[in-house]
Amino acid sequence: MSAGPAQHLHTYEPVVSDGVAAALAGHGASIVAASASRVWLITADERLGVVVREFGLDSVGAAAWHHDRLVLVSDWQVWTFVDAGPEPDGMAQHLLLAQEAHTTGSLGVTDVAVGSGGPVVVSGLFSCLATLDDHNSMRPIWVAPGVTALRPETRALLTGVALMDGRAAFVTAAGLSDEADGWQPSLVGGGAVLTTGGEPVLSGLALPRHPRWQGDHLLVADTGTGRVLRLDPATGDADSLVTLPGVLGALDARRDLAVVAYGDASRAAVSGLEGGHPASGPVRDGLALIDLPSGSVAGTIEFLGRAGPFGAVAVLPGLASAALAVPRGLTTQQTAVLGDPEALTR
């Protein structure tokens, strides 16, 4: 075999639109986005403008921010990053340090939220919600309606969870079934938003995911139509806040800022979706920042090359200046953060 010319297989050059820096600065927030093999941390810096930093971290499928910590769910672990304060010898005011990892094994996690009892993960594979367990891989707390056995068969593909008052209140499902992979035939039109009481709130959706409770309504990404829905769960009334090109990826919202991933339908994690309003050519993998009070797209960050699809995003409120120390990276290993001293037990 002869050697051919070197190929630059991946370029993840970000293209940042006007409005992103102002939106991040205005909300005092940073963004974490993750694909199958990369995690990006996006911050706004007064001197440098928008800073997009890329980290190697495999298979992050879900992300959430809670108080002072970031939870990233990889293929088999739930990682907790804690805010360790200013970055040693760095610029960031908040270094997020990989502090703990809970081994769950491969649960096919599609979303995570952090409630009063810790992380609640959505297991697409087992069609259930679960919390972490000291002893076992997980502790199931809820199973999709109609599912009669907890088997790794993706019977009903659950795609998201929203908390109210720290407890799981709403879920999204791509389809409900009690057969292995039975959700697939109803991919378009079979998606629904449910309460954890099992009551339907909205149906007829195309792979809805990542519901987020916003005080008096839910935000939901209707992946297959490219629409970000604003849903009143009391009435079931929904309107489309914005429609993005291609199909949607992950969604997260904090305070008045939502971030929604989008990308080309041909490369979506699930095939058979048409996407939102037509584009003249292939849709780049991107993140849209949505100002929720106005319902407008404040800006976008698109990536040249195949950066996505983005399966997880998290808005980090109050962290305008942040850095990420990845698991087992040099910074994580060499940084020592001392807790407050405690006496020995006697």
Binding site: A84, S106, G117, H135, I141, L150, R167, A169, A336, L344
Partner: protein, 372 residues
């Protein structure tokens, strides 16, 4: 005391990767008779679990972990392993009496990892309430893991002016008494970073944690203090001696000699199982009285485990580790466990082996669900 370690009394080697384990004749029978298995690590990369199979033969199981240091168990179902930068808690997932298809009666899964950073953990133990407490050698303190920090300082020797980075006295060992951190060992009482190296031959101390008082001086690189059967045991590593500390007279009383740098200690009935590392010319384990003691006995140092009969002081069994490894920091006994296994971090099992209660309907959980 005798120290046979003769090749013709050694059973056939067990080879894992490029490391051989050589057990004394009768070691497997001893494990079976004591109804115990042993866990230890050989940096840079191995965790070993040693028991016996259904036919009474030695059964060795190994996993890759980065620099295994201190070890602790809460009996026989939970195992804590300190590594270079992390502490792992392993959970046995087998029900009582159950075995794997391979005949293992414990299957430890790495359930929780806490990053502690570059702190040079040595001994690791559990308080009465199950909380971990361990020796943070780099910061000169006892510490515990924390969900929000690298570690929580719990105690430091009175002669140090605080908890700070930089190994000043080489605090390394911890003895628990009834679930309370009670005694520690230091290589010296120096207060300047790295000065402890100058005191390796005879400046080692044992400190009473409760009072802060030194209860024994003049030791050579003491390690692994343990409270057993009403006595405080210490490995005086720099002389190759295992012995007890008379706290009233403040003297160390040797009980046994082992050919190596003795470090890592646990007890099984009337026996001590002590770890042994191999000094190498020019390293911190060499230039000590141990060198002379070995020469006087015409012995070579060994890496492995020595089983010492406490009633006679005789070295009655051993498990030697041969290959490109030299160190062993701790050994832990799992009483009532015949043949343990563990899932590692590198293979597919840690992803694919799932253990949970799959009973439906799921019990209501009002704390986690808004509408159970």
């Amino acid at each position: 005391m005798t120290s046979p370690l003769a090749p013709d009394e050694t059973e056939a080697p067990t080879v894992h990767d490029d490391v051989q384990l050589l057990a004394s004749e009768g070691f497997a029978e001893w494990l079976a008779g004591q109804q115990v298995s042993l866990v230890f690590g050989t940096p840079p990369a191995k965790l070993w679990l040693v028991g016996v199979d259904e036919d009474g033969r030695l059964a060795v199981f190994d996993r890759s972990l980065d620099k295994v240091m201190g070890l602790a168990s809460d009996g026989n179902d939970r195992l804590w392993v300190a590594t270079r930068y992390e502490i792992w808690r392993f959970e046995n997932v087998l029900a009582p009496g159950a075995t794997t298809n391979d005949g293992h009666d414990r299957l430890f899964i790495p359930r929780l990892m806490s990053t502690v950073g570059n702190v040079n953990i040595h001994d690791l133990a559990l308080e009465a309430d199950g909380r971990d407490v361990w020796v943070n050698t780099r910061f000169g303190c006892l510490a515990s893991t924390s969900g929000s920090a690298s570690f929580v300082p719990r105690w430091h020797p009175p002669f140090l002016d605080g908890v700070a980075a930089g190994d000043r006295c080489h605090l390394n060992g911890l003895a628990m008494v009834d679930g309370v951190a009670s005694y520690v060992t230091c290589v010296s009482t120096s207060t300047e970073v790295d000065d402890w190296r100058d005191g390796r031959r005879d400046q080692g101390v044992v400190i009473d944690v409760t009072t802060g008082e030194i209860v024994c001086r003049g030791l050579s690189m003491p390690h692994s203090p343990r409270w057993w059967d009403g006595r405080l045991w210490v490995a005086n590593a720099g002389t190759g001696e295992l012995g007890t500390v008379d706290r009233e007279r403040q003297v160390f009383e040797p009980v046994a000699f082992g050919p190596g740098f003795l470090r890592g200690l646990c007890f099984v009935g009337d026996y001590a199982v002590v770890g042994s590392s191999k000094p190498r010319r020019g390293d911190i384990y060499s230039g000590l009285a141990l060198d002379d003691a070995l020469e006087a006995r015409n012995m070579q140092p060994h890496l492995g485990l020595f089983v010492i009969d406490l009633t006679s002081g005789e070295l009655v069994h051993w498990l030697l580790v041969e290959g490109p490894v030299r160190e062993l920091f701790d050994v832990c006994a799992l009483p009532g466990v015949r043949r343990p296994a563990a899932i590692g971090l590198l293979g597919g099992e840690v992803r694919g082996d799932l253990w949970f209660d799959d009973t439906l309907p799921i019990p209501a959980d009002a704390a986690a669900l808004a509408a159970p």
